[in-house]
């Protein structure tokens, strides 16, 4: 297991190098001049030229690339073109908020999805099963934006129980609606996957054996079936969590949540290269780590994978 983890961590270096190069080249190719974005409406060529020099944009591409790699090696992500603040500082401020949102959304999605999927697989109440599956279909089809506005309308404007938007200094009340909105699509998918996982498992021999042994239904579902159904759930949760961490721009925009996603999109629109490059690299690291965690957790849940030589 340990060698497995170490090997994957070492792979980070070539992955990051590849991501950095691709982002760098993309920024160069994409139309739109960062200097024009900063200069506003009225500008003369001379001011633009001076800004380019100040930001180092007039140097040859290769020089800029080497300089960029050099700074990366020192963990220096540079300064934003627009605000002149260190990129690392901006990411440090915003990422925790995206993290809280992602963790909450993931928590709701997994708990809710597994509960809904399990309940609907139970088979005692077919009507409940159908209702839950319809709910999950709606959840998957509903655009995040629309869902967010709907929830704001319902809980903030009509019922007055939650604030419509904002970070609120970290208050839980402000977290609920954005986390719920973000979690819906995942929750729906997890519910469906859990349901089929349960249905499959319930037909297996070991369940019949457990029933024959006289184990209660709850014990069967909770202890035996659940673990087997969890593998696909973890795969989905891991993939979705990775994308949540990149910042869920739509949710953050609708709820005015000051996270990383919106920040990156604004940087892209302003061609703020250092921020874009720094943020993309950061997200790449996160993605690799999350995938690693998912793979390791397979081993924790399914002994078959563990015994097959650490994966």
């Amino acid at each position: 297991m340990l060698t497995f983890i170490l090997k994957r961590l070492l792979l980070l270096v070539p992955i990051l190098l590849g991501v950095a190069t691709i982002t760098f080249v993309l920024m160069y190719i994409v139309p739109g001049d960062p200097v024009r974005a900063i200069a506003g409406e009225r500008y003369d060529e001379e001011t633009l030229a001076r800004m380019r020099t100040e930001l180092g944009l007039d140097r040859p591409l290769v020089v800029r690339y080497v300089d960029f790699l050099g700074r990366l090696a020192r963990f220096d992500l540079g300064r934003s073109f627009v605000t002149r603040r260190p990129v690392a500082e901006a990411i440090r401020e915003r990422f925790p908020r995206t993290l809280i949102l992602a963790l909450s959304a993931m928590g709701i999605a997994v708990l809710g999805g597994v509960v809904i999927g399990a309940l609907s697989a139970w088979g005692r109440r077919p009507a409940l099963s159908r209702a839950l599956m319809t709910f999950s279909l709606v959840g998957v089809s509903m655009p995040v934006f629309w869902l967010g506005l709907l929830l704001i309308y319902l809980f903030a404007i009509k019922l007055h129980v939650l604030p419509p938007s904002g970070y609120g200094g970290g208050s839980i009340k402000n977290l609920i609606l954005p986390a719920l909105t973000l979690s819906f699509a995942s929750m729906a998918t997890i519910a469906r996957v859990t349901r089929s996982g349960f249905l499959d498992a319930l037909g297996e021999d070991y369940v019949r054996t457990a029933r024959a042994k006289g184990l209660g239904e709850r014990m069967i579902l909770g202890k035996h079936v659940l673990r087997n159904a969890l593998i696909p759930v973890i795969t989905i949760a891991g993939a979705d969590f990775g994308s949540y961490l990149s910042g869920s721009v739509l949710t953050e925009s609708v709820f005015g949540w000051p996270g990383l996603g919106r920040f990156i999109v604004q940087a892209i629109l302003k061609r703020d290269f250092p921020v874009i490059q720094g943020a993309v690299l950061f997200m790449a690291v996160l993605f690799v780590l999350v995938n690693l965690a998912v793979d390791v957790s397979y081993g924790a849940i399914d002994p078959r994978i563990r015994s097959e030589g650490g994966g």
Binding site: R42, T47, L111, A118, L149, H160, G166, I176, R262
Partner: protein
């Protein structure tokens, strides 16, 4: 297991205690911004959010009131001498938010800083008319006569040529007076921790979430009745409306698509004509748009009044000319482009395009713009012109226009200072082709000479005559498909008094607003 999960969910939801309105000091005025400021350093503030907040924190020599009139700010009084080439400003008492008295030396420092090539300010052109400013900006030495402190409370400014709208330039956010030792101490971090002598000071900046301002004890002007200002950053219009409806915002800008709803509800709406003009510009160097007859024909092909009524819900005034009604001191040019598709076709035929032609109209991403342009597209099709709509995001859009790529583009122009010069000169003088504002690449020697003469003329009546003549020529030449001057609508929460929509964006300092 399942039961435990359900119980956990219920407990977590129990945290949603009712009563969601943000409570805090009730005398804080709560406003919203769509985008976060990028900097609070006046010399670097280019976008509206930055400029608006920087103007609240820093004072200028003179500033705008909500009606865009020049009023004393740091300078209590001033004299204009030598035919407009010399200004003498007498400063009143004021302190920076760090407690130090503002002196004439601070004003000189701030002006010099704006022009300093090392500051790389995109707004250095505000003070380009100062004696020796261009040379200094190129890297030469500072001409001490440009701006000097005669004593602690007197600033003498010398211009290389008379500039009739100079006071308007001084009222712009970029000309804000900064605290020298703070700038030198903080360097680039001044953008986050500004120190000004304006009515407000920065009390907290919660990244991406909220900016809080508190009254500046050093402010020498009228005391405000408010305990502070809160600017929440809410990018989505619908979310802003939601916040207003639950009572978390005091002022809401009503999107045009929502106007009907608010009008029907009978809520009192404030409105103001913006100092902004919306138009479709033609690339006057690209055939067939180099022929004025084609441009005039296209103007007559579109029923602009109908578009305003249906797509904009009446929230605009059709433009005949370039200068918005709020600034005019003379009547608009006489109507030339009444909706007349037959005349349009005839004129196109005369120009050699009886069978029409194809063109592209470029726009930035904007749903309202799309609706407008689809209507325009329909009207143009009626006269045989096939218009293809091209959407680009803002950065690529601007760059394409600078390069002269699009045939036509849908864009607007917003005033920096309330003077017709701010419209006619950048938009139509040949020296401003490209990034300077003349996106249509329009060149007309007669217009150039009229604008040049007006730029040097200190007599207001004569200036207006010159601008009126220039505007007539431009209107006839039609480098634009003239559209409209938009109106801004706002609703207020019943708890505030004394608020007015400012004519220019940094003209409202909230000193008269009460809760």
């Amino acid at each position: 297991m399942i039961r435990a999960a359900i119980i956990t969910l219920c407990i977590s939801f129990a945290f949603a205690v009712p009563g969601c309105a943000r409570h805090g000091d009730d005398r804080v005025l709560r406003l919203a911004l769509q985008t976060e400021p990028t900097t609070l350093d006046p010399a670097l503030s280019v976008d509206f959010s930055s400029g608006e907040i920087a103007s609240l924190i820093h004072s200028n020599l003179v500033s705008f009131d909500p009606d865009a009139r020049i009023v004393p700010d740091l300078a209590r009084s001033w004299e204009i001498l030598d035919g407009g080439r010399q200004y003498v400003f007498h400063l009143g008492p004021a302190r920076f938010s760090n407690g130090r008295r503002v002196t004439a030396a601070d004003v000189v420092y701030s002006m010099r800083r704006l022009l300093d090539p090392r500051a790389v300010s995109p707004r250095w052109w505000l003070l380009a008319s100062l004696a020796g400013a261009s040379a200094y900006h190129e890297g030469g030495s500072w001409n001490p006569a440009a701006a000097s402190a005669a004593n602690d409370s007197t600033v003498v400014v010398r211009l290389s040529r008379p500039v009739p709208h100079f006071l308007g330039l001084l009222a712009m956010p970029a000309a804000g007076i900064v605290c020298r030792e703070e700038v030198e101490r903080l360097g680039a971090r001044y953008a986050r921790s500004p120190c000004g002598s304006g009515p407000w000071k920065l009390s907290a900046w919660n990244e991406g979430d909220e900016i809080l301002l508190a009254p500046n004890p050093g402010w020498a002007g009228r005391r405000t009745g408010l305990a502070g200002l809160s600017f929440r950053i809410i990018p989505e219009e619908m979310t802003q409306i939601a916040e207003f409806e639950v009572g978390n915002l005091d002022v809401l800008e009503v999107p045009r698509s929502e106007l009907e709803h608010w009008r029907a509800a009978g809520t009192p709406l404030l409105w103001k004509e913006e100092l902004r003009v919306v138009y479709i510009g033609f690339n006057t160097t690209k055939p067939p748009f180099n022929d004025p007859r084609v441009r005039q024909a296209l103007n007559m092909a579109v029923d602009v009044d109908k578009i305003i009524a249906q797509v904009l819900f009446g929230a605009a005034k059709r433009s005949r000319g370039v200068v918005p009604p709020g600034l005019r001191q003379s009547p608009e040019p006489a109507e030339r482009y009444r909706y007349d598709p037959d005349r349009s076709r005839a004129l196109l035929a005369e120009a050699g395009y009886a069978s029409g032609f194809s063109m592209e109209i470029w726009q930035r991403e904007n749903p309202e713009a799309l609706r407008v342009l689809e209507s325009v597209q329909g009207y143009l099709a009626d006269v045989g012109v096939k218009a293809k709509l091209v959407t680009r995001e803002w950065g690529a859009f601007k760059e394409a226009i600078d390069r002269g790529t699009p045939d036509a583009f849908f864009i607007d122009w917003l005033a920096d200072y309330p003077d017709p010069e701010n419209f006619l000169m950048p938009l139509f003088h040949s020296s401003n082709v490209g990034g300077g504002g003349n996106r249509t690449r329009y060149r007309n020697a007669r217009v150039d000479s009229l604008l040049d003469a007006a730029a040097a003329c200190m007599d207001t009546a004569r200036r207006w005559e010159l601008y009126r003549s220039a505007e007539e020529i431009v209107y006839e030449d039609a480098p634009w498909l003239f559209l409209w001057f938009p109106q801004k609508y706002e609703v207020l929460s019943p708890r505030i008094t004394g608020y007015r929509i400012p004519l220019i964006f940094n003209g409202q300092r909230f000193l008269d607003v009460g809760v």
